[in-house]
């Protein structure tokens, strides 16, 4: 099994964190993993992306040429990366910020208003964790218990109050499909 994921959105939407969490979960399940951030002149509101590889084998390159999964949080990200998705690949879209999506039979599309869902949950910043929940349910790569354990483990000691809302967001995502 090798899963290559590209995650993209605006700076501040939690793109980097989402990728990092997937890599940390992979580590805790003793899989090979790599996480490569974009490191240009990224600023809040600008674009940001990261590449995550999870595999049962040693990972040759952290750089992804063709992705199995593409998660996009805004329209520019979709436009930039859609051609990087493999045929039959999974596209997870934040429909709050990508209003219209042309139907495409060659890929699997999951479209949810991630930002609106996050706002309803009480924190706009957890749109990324809602996406994580959806992704986990669809791909079933990891044990959900490992995911919750990982979230608790990697949260900094002065941010522990945020664990509950993040777990709530993941559970919301899990229940969406």
């Amino acid at each position: 099994m090798t899963e290559k994921i590209i995650i993209s959105g605006a700076g501040g939407q939690g793109v980097m964190l989402l990728g990092r969490v997937i890599a940390e979960v992979a580590l805790n399940e003793n899989k090979f993993t790599s996480w490569l951030p974009s490191y240009g002149a990224e600023v809040r509101g600008g674009s940001a992306f990261c590449m995550v590889v999870v595999s049962d084998e040693e990972i040759p390159s952290p750089y992804i040429e063709k992705a199995d999964t593409l998660i996009v949080f805004n329209k520019p990200s979709l436009e930039k990366f859609i051609s990087w998705l493999k045929p039959e690949g999974l596209l997870l879209v934040n429909s709050s910020l990508v209003p219209k999506l042309n139907p495409n039979k060659n890929i699997q599309i999951l479209s949810f208003p991630l930002t609106e869902i996050a706002v309803k949950l009480g924190n706009i910043k957890v749109a990324n964790m809602v996406a994580l929940g959806i992704y986990l349910k669809r791909k079933k790569l990891f044990d959900i218990k490992t995911v919750f354990k990982t979230i608790k483990k990697i949260t900094l000691s002065d941010k522990k109050n945020l664990i509950d809302i993040n777990i709530k967001a993941i559970k919301e995502g899990l229940n969406l499909i």
């Binding site: 990092r20 940390e24 580590l27 790599s34 996480w35 040693e58 990972i59 040759p60 390159s61 040429e65």
Partner: protein, 348 residues
């Protein structure tokens, strides 16, 4: 203390490796894509009660390293390509004074200010001297976060052993990528002189003064010194050359690559071997001294050199094979790197 498996970036792994290897003095100046290393040192060196200085420039950082090294401390600086160019004078003086130091170059694309994308375009600069004069740095090329950590011990030991600057040459991917590292968070070595340094400037009370210089006004004196350096370089070549090889013996085609490029090449070898293709890999670990011997095992094979540059290491491969009849090259820099697909197309 138990070993832990953690997720960490190449830049941070280099920093932790340096600290555990006993680096007592770090001076640096920010530049992408190695900033996380400087940031890591800013935090960790102070925790360990060692010296961290954000210098006012790259030039002053390397010269501070020269000073700390002359006083007998394990010292290090890091930068990326344009910053390493600025450090070349200091590197030449370190070599000329026979001072140990570790210099990390997390390469970006050039020439000039270039851009911040990963590249391997500083191979010539790193392996052929770089600054003025007849000297060499020992150059190590890690290809994973684990090696980035492990090689720091090796680098500081080599530097002390031969009283010579050692360069860690990585590309932006290696610095930025995050992957698992198996590490023991032991109490870092904080001994002042890890190897006894009789030559260091430690205050000459009760002993004859030590002099550290690279200035030999008399003609014969300089030649004598240069011959001494050359003798040292010969010893290093004989003893310290390192490489990794995979499936070389029976290969019809052998890929040659280092750093990130070697990871991609290794993936290609694995993939094509499964399909029965007789393909191998030579991965230089020391870029200087270059592992010429690695090419003696199967000199008749077809060689494909892969670089994130427009062809630098390929010249050393041609020298090792005494000709360019069977040597091909594939390389890109400045934004793209040779992809698995491109390599497979060339191999076939």
């Amino acid at each position: 203390m138990k070993k832990e498996k953690i997720l960490i970036s190449g830049n941070e792994a280099i920093g932790e490796g340096a600290i555990q290897a006993g680096c007592f003095f770090y001076a640096g100046y920010p530049i992408t894509p190695q900033n996380e290393l400087t940031a890591y040192m800013a935090k960790r060196m102070l925790q360990e009660k060692r010296v961290f200085i954000q210098a006012e420039s790259e030039i002053s950082a390397i010269n501070m390293v020269l000073g700390a090294s002359a006083a007998g401390f394990r010292a290090m600086t890091s930068s990326s390509s344009p910053g390493i160019s600025l450090k070349q004078e200091g590197l030449s003086y370190l070599a000329g004074c026979q001072l140990p130091a570790v210099i990390v170059n997390i390469m970006r694309a050039g020439p000039g200010l270039g851009n911040i994308f990963p590249a391997q375009s500083d191979y010539f600069q790193a392996t052929k001297g770089g600054g003025h004069g007849d000297y060499y740095c020992i150059v190590l090329a890690p290809f994973s976060v684990q090696e980035a950590f492990d090689f720091m011990f090796f680098a500081f030991d080599l530097a002390d052993k031969y009283r010579n600057p050692v360069m860690i040459l990585g590309d932006g991917f290696l610095g930025q990528m995050v992957e698992p590292l198996t590490v023991k968070f032991q109490i870092p070595n904080s001994k002042y002189q890890i190897i006894k340094k009789d030559w260091a400037l430690t205050g000459c009370k009760k002993r004859a003064p030590n002099i550290i210089k690279s200035f030999y006004l008399k003609q014969k004196e300089l030649e004598k010194f240069n011959l001494l350096l050359q003798k040292k370089y010969k010893t290093i070549k004989r003893r310290e050359t390192r490489w990794q090889e995979i499936d070389v013996e029976d290969a019809r085609i052998i890929l040659v690559a280092y750093g990130t490029m070697a990871r991609i090449a290794k993936g290609v070898v694995r993939k094509l071997r499964e399909k029965g293709k007789k393909i191998g890999l030579i991965r230089p670990i020391t870029l200087w001294p270059f592992p010429q011997k690695a090419f003696l095992k199967n000199p008749k094979a077809r060689y494909l050199v892969l670089e994130m540059s427009y062809g630098q290491m390929v010249e050393d491969v041609k020298l090792a094979l005494e000709g360019d009849k069977n040597v091909e090259f594939l390389g890109r820099a400045g934004g793209g790197i040779p992809t698995e697909e491109e390599i497979i197309r060339r191999v076939k």
